[in-house]
Amino acid sequence: MKKKKNLWSFAVLPLYLFTLVFVVGPLVYMAAISFATNKEGYGVLWRFTTENYRKILDPVYLETFQQSLKLAFSSTLSIMLLGYPFGYFMAKLSDRRKKRMMLLLVIPFWVNSLIRLYGWIIILQTKGALNGFLLKLGLIEKPLKMLYSYPAVLLGMIYTLLPFMILSVYSSAEKMDWSLVEAAMDLGATPAQAFFSVTLKMTLPGLLSGMILTFIPSMGLFFIADILGGNKIVLVGSLIQDQMSRGSNWPFAAALAVILTFLTTLIIYLYRKITHVSELEGLY
């Protein structure tokens, strides 16, 4: 018996080792350099300072955080409004059609996400398909400038992250016992009442996990802002990338990353507190 237990502890060893060396190690290192001094040119000088954190309070950088949060909140909200009904309706389909719908949702994952965004460029550009369509219909007189704007970036975020919300909501709604809704209606609840008091509550874990799965990436997907926003929209993600490469200020990038990690960890912690669920719904 004792020997058996030892063997199983041995089984977790590769996982623990890999995680310690290649996940915990780099994260601790990042936290450490966020308190180090930037060496002009390249690298890090190991002299303790809190300057990197104070620098974030600079209005220019605070505005970046604000813009990122604004975009993350508005994309998460839009995705929720768009994705929740989808997951809900999908759960009500017959088994065969559920499977077919799932397949239709998963196939786009095999088209590179950058290429899918490129498809939007084709559609939205000034001489693009949408403008041509609107011109033909006579709805507009000259082409609109749609690309390289805030709405374009928002659209890109919604487009890229929507499937994650749909899949989370669906996995919650699929497990739901619909007879509870019927019971509520039999007891005299209107459909709206039944929805808010039963369905919404039962699918809340899926909805919340969908919100996390969309909110967290939307803080860091710098390439969407890059491609669809031109240089107009600077997000925390773009700032970190810039500081790591061109700006070459690793300690400052690390401080930004620490704050971002803290924010996202806080959100996940709150999620667990609210739902008492330890895993995110919809990931499997």
């Binding site: 063997l7 199983w8 502890s9 089984a11 977790v12 590769p14 996982l15 623990y16 890999f18 995680t19 290649f22 996940v23 915990v24 780099p26 994260l27 290192y29 990042m30 350099i33 768009l82 009904p85 989808f86 309706f89 009500k92 239709l104 196939i107 994952f109 095999w110 088209v111 590179n112 996400s113 950058l114 290429i115 965004l117 490129y118 498809g119 939007w120 084709i122 559609i123 001489k127 693009g128 487009y159 929507l162 499937p163 990436p217 860091g220 997907l221 390439f223 491609i227 970190i240 990338q241 790591m244 690390a254 990353a257 971002l260 990690t261 996202t264 960890t265 895993e279 990931l283 499997y284």
Partner: protein, 263 residues
């Protein structure tokens, strides 16, 4: 009366589902369409042509990037599947005291924004003096592939009947034998679906790769990203159309195989 109402509702829900699907497929449709465009510009349609497919197969840099991406995906999935599967079984069996914390930490790579993972890898690897290239890419991708496999296998193990393993043990099988003969075949579907998801994520990753790929090695998404900054050539459209076609073919083949088995 009631019945009529529900029927109307179902109709609305169907329209909604199709509209959202249209939204999802619309840009993909345009990418496919313009891969057959004679003109280099995406603003005008100059007529049907297979020109870009021809140039694609002569463009060694894109094919090289595709090869790198596939190799990277396979290597990191294999590593992640081995570490993740054995780890998940160990976590469940050993019920280690630190298990909860370690499990949380193991899933961290998909809980924090990719950009942070990318930058910490870049900083950490350069301190370790690891040569940037395939090695660093495989380590980084393995790190974010493990959680997908770990979580799926764990969920599968949770729903498994422990009596099966106990029976094998009672009949005198060594723990190793139990793992390979009983546990592994039972969790295999979870390992496969986790690996498939991880492979898709690896094949699509641009944020982490861009930090650790090094100056000489391109993965396909990194290549596409750099091209997008200077203007995409329709070869990329052609490549994506081919990849989509392969995906669909595999799906159809899989379906046929399943149906055949069912007959």
């Amino acid at each position: 009366m009631r019945k009529k109402k529900t029927r109307r509702k179902i109709k609305f829900s169907e329209i909604y589902l199709w509209l959202v699907l249209l939204f999802i497929y619309l840009p993909i449709g345009f990418v496919v369409l313009y891969s057959f465009n004679e003109s280099k510009s995406t603003a005008v349609w100059n007529g049907f042509s297979l020109r870009w497919y021809q140039t694609l197969f002569q463009d060694s840099s894109i094919l090289e990037a595709l090869k790198n991406s596939l190799l990277l995906g396979v290597l990191s999935c294999l590593a992640a599947a081995a570490i993740g599967t054995v780890g998940a079984v160990g976590l469940v069996k050993a019920k280690a005291k630190a298990g909860g914390v370690m499990e949380y930490i193991s899933t961290l790579p998909i809980m924090i924004p990719e950009i942070i993972l990318g930058m910490v890898f870049m900083a950490f690897f350069s301190v370790l003096h690891l040569p940037f290239g395939m090695v660093t890419l495989v380590i980084a991708h393995t790190a974010f592939c493990i959680p997908y496999i770990l979580m799926m296998v764990r969920a599968r193990l949770a729903g498994m009947d422990p009596a099966l393993e106990e029976a094998a043990m009672d009949l005198g099988a060594a723990p190793m034998r139990v793992f390979f003969d009983i546990t592994l075949p039972l969790v295999m579907p979870a390992v496969l679906s986790g690996s498939l998801l991880a492979f898709a994520m690896s094949l699509d990753d641009v944020v982490i790769s861009i930090f650790v790929n090094g100056p000489r090695l391109n993965t396909l998404p990194v290549k596409v990203y750099t091209q997008m900054k200077f203007g995409v050539t329709p070869e990329i459209n052609a490549l994506c159309t081919i990849m989509l076609a392969i995906t669909l073919l595999v799906l159809v083949a899989y379906r046929l195989a399943v149906y055949k088995k069912a007959d």
